[in-house]
């Protein structure tokens, strides 16, 4: 409901901006129309990750105002399915939270990565009487492995000096569906607590038997919301919408940082970007970095069959990387730091027909 309303507000805002631009004078007007022709006309189909879906839908409705003749659709079918559909040529580009592996059905060397936004994954909890919680990676790993089962465990107390913790049982909530959020969260634990975390990482992991699974971020958020003593990982926008308490996590520099968009952008800036523009902002360096920050990418083909599609894809993605970046904040995603943004724009030159 909220999201819908917000998207409507954004639409109205964009519409007003366009109107204002039109009213600005003849020169502006001709500028807009020549833009529209430059954007071309046609249809773009895409599918993939559900994590950035809220952002992509916002960008698509905003782009509709700029290029009314271009129809972009994005189906949030999940990263895995998105990659497969892209590999089969069913879609023009794909969204993915994870990198392309050999068995994903996308031939190596046939595509480029374009990072778009990043998002913090929160560790949200519900514990009556405790509004501020700090967790170090090892404690976090032990909670999610059910090695720590009570809130007044000495390990939690050590991270939270001076906070009185009740002896409530911990109910761990996780995703029951395969999810890029699970993948990034477990990758973070693998990176930050290598000697403690034993469950590996992936879209689905073998959680301990006493935990609770629920579908999608909203499902996990709901368990936390209604259960005293619950803790789980939820993406930032759902945690905000459900008004959950979020724990501050100890980052690589030893600082406890609460999830925020600034913290996520700092993590992206602190991450090492590889030549193919993939980067790993999980457990990134930097005093302000929020350590559980997840990247997300678009996959574009190196070579499109016809020039029009190539042009449409490039223009759309250019928009995502420029005018589309400020929209990210409205739906609680972190925009790219300018360095990576420039590299991503340069990546578009590799897309040809």
């Amino acid at each position: 409901m909220n999201r819908k309303m917000r998207s409507r507000l954004v639409l109205v805002g964009v519409a007003l901006a366009v109107l204002a631009g039109c009213g600005g004078g003849n020169s502006d007007n001709s500028g807009t129309s020549s833009d529209a022709t430059a954007n071309g006309s046609g249809e773009l189909k895409a599918s993939g990750a559900s994590f950035p879906d809220a952002y992509y839908q916002e960008v698509i409705s905003a782009y509709k105002e700029k290029a009314p003749d271009v129809t972009v659709t994005y189906n949030a079918v999940g990263s895995g399915t998105g990659k497969q559909e892209f590999g089969k040529g069913l879609t023009d580009f794909a969204g993915t939270d994870s990198l392309v592996k050999d068995d994903d059905g996308v031939p190596a060397g046939s595509f480029v990565y374009v990072p778009t936004v990043a998002g913090p994954i929160t560790v949200s909890y519900n514990l009556s009487g405790v509004d501020k919680l700090q967790l170090s990676p090892d404690t976090l790993a032990n909670i999610f492995q059910a090695k720590i089962t009570k809130w007044n465990d000495p390990a939690i107390a050590k991270d939270n000096q001076g906070v009185s913790l009740p002896d409530t049982s911990i109910t761990v909530a996780h995703r029951s569906d395969g999810s890029g959020t699970t993948s990034n969260f477990t990758k973070y634990l693998t990176a930050a607590a290598p000697s403690t975390w034993k469950l590996g990482n992936g879209d689905t992991v073998a959680w301990p038997s006493g935990t609770q699974g629920a579908e999608k971020n909203t499902g996990v958020a709901q368990i936390i919301k209604q259960t005293d003593g619950a803790i789980g990982y939820v993406d930032y926008s759902d945690a905000l919408e459900t008004k959950l308490n979020m724990a501050a996590i100890k980052n690589k520099d030893g600082k406890f940082v609460a999830p925020s968009l600034e913290g996520a952008t700092a993590a992206v800036a602190g991450a090492t970007v590889k030549d193919d523009l993939t980067y790993d902002p999980l457990n990134a360096a930097g005093a302000d970095s929020y350590p559980i920050t997840a990247p997300t990418y678009l996959l574009l083909k190196n070579k499109y069959d016809d020039a029009n599609t190539a042009n449409l894809v490039k223009e759309y993605v250019r928009y995502v990387l420029t005018d589309g970046q400020p929209i990210a904040k409205d739906v609680n995603f972190a925009s790219l730091p300018s360095g990576l943004q420039q590299k991503a724009l340069a990546q578009l030159d590799k897309v040809q027909s």
């Binding site: 079918v77 999940g78 990263s79 895995g80 399915t81 497969q84 068995d103 994903d104 049982s169 109910t171 909530a173 996780h174 029951s176 569906d177 395969g178 999810s179 693998t190 034993k198 469950l199 590996g200 990482n201 992936g202 879209d203 689905t204 992991v205 073998a206 959680w207 038997s209 006493g210 935990t211 609770q212 699974g213 629920a214 579908e215 709901q222 368990i223 209604q226 259960t227 005293d228 003593g229 619950a230």
Partner: protein, 332 residues
């Protein structure tokens, strides 16, 4: 006899064209044979294609697929492990709870409607029960998650505290999970979901008991309950088992509602207040993001579920046949 002699014969449809009738007869028998075979063919095709698609997982896991309770598609080291035992157990346990709760209620309603209820009440009572069947399962699931589970936690806690000193019971009614999403909650939701179908079939079955049998029981001085156990149940036992089996089939295959309320944990425990998962729920939860052997393993769950349903149905037929021999003295 070419001309109708009585009025009765005149009222019958004219069977003048003999060849037409024969052709119709042949067509009819072909049509019924074909539809009958079609069901078998569909069943066989489903079994063959799903088994074929699940084969990589069966091959990897061997018998471990049904005897191991480790389900780990992305282990920290080594190959993925797909052991479905915890999910088979979850399906069986939640369905069993559903039957234990749902069947007495359903048969009670059916008996009330056929034997006790005033005639004018019947229509509306039947309508209310049938309306339960019209509620989409996802609504039951959401109701279970939002309303029932948080309420039941307190009931579970109370039961757990009460039976704590009793050995055995304190294991079955163990420490409840904080969210209330458990085998028990899934069983209760399933019980509500199977009540309409079990009730309506039981009602049909019970209403076929001849009035003569009932009157005979009364004539021998039976009370109403004695009449029901002595005359109604023996006559309708087979049909009632059929009704229960249909309910069980629904319970074992139910997906969305169970997925929402059972807790989503890989858990093999006698504690009915703990969270678990069922085969159908796991398939719907994990299919979307699966690839390769993982997908095969999920389809494998479908094959196991299918096999389980067939075995349960065959066992039920056996029970019915035995019981009928015992009760009626003849094999029917």
């Amino acid at each position: 006899m070419t001309t109708p002699t009585t009025q009765e014969e005149a009222a019958r449809p004219a069977l003048t064209s003999k060849s037409d009738g024969v052709r119709g007869e042949r067509l009819f028998s072909w049509w019924t044979l074909a539809t009958g075979l079609l069901v078998l063919a569909i069943l066989a095709l489903i079994l063959i294609t799903t088994t074929k698609q699940a084969w990589p997982a069966f091959q990897d896991m061997g018998l471990g697929f049904v005897t191991s309770s480790t389900w780990d598609p992305n282990p920290a080291s080594g190959n993925p492990v797909f052991g479905a035992l915890a999910f088979i157990y979850g399906t069986a346990l939640s369905s069993l709870i559903a039957l234990l709760i749902g069947v007495p209620i359903s048969i009670g309603i059916a008996l009330f409607l056929t034997e006790l209820a005033p005639r004018r009440l019947r229509g509306s009572a039947v309508m209310v029960v049938d309306m339960l069947a019209a509620i989409p399962s996802v609504v039951f699931g959401l109701w279970g998650v939002l309303v029932l589970a948080p309420l039941l936690v307190h009931v579970y806690q109370w039961i757990h505290d009460v039976v704590a000193p009793v050995p055995g019971l304190n294991i079955i009614f163990g420490e409840p999970i904080g969210t209330g999403r458990s085998f028990m909650t899934a069983g209760i939701i399933l019980a509500i979901m199977i009540v309409p179908i079990v009730t309506s079939i039981s009602r049909e079955v019970l209403s076929t008991v001849p009035q003569v049998n009932k009157d005979a029981a009364y004539a021998l001085g039976a009370t109403q309950w004695e009449m029901i156990t002595g005359a109604v149940f023996p006559h309708s036992f087979g049909g009632l088992v059929g009704a229960v089996m249909l309910g069980l089939g629904r319970a074992m295959g139910e997906t969305i509602a169970v997925s929402l309320v059972i807790g989503g944990a890989t858990n093999l425990t006698p504690n009915v207040f703990a969270g678990g998962n069922s085969m159908a729920a796991v398939i719907v939860q994990q299919f979307g993001e699966s690839t390769g052997t993982f997908t095969a393993a999920l389809i494998g769950l479908g094959v196991v579920l299918f096999a389980m349903t067939v075995v349960v149905n065959l066992a039920a037929r056996l029970v019915v046949r035995r019981a009928e021999i015992r009760v009626q003295g003849t094999a029917t």
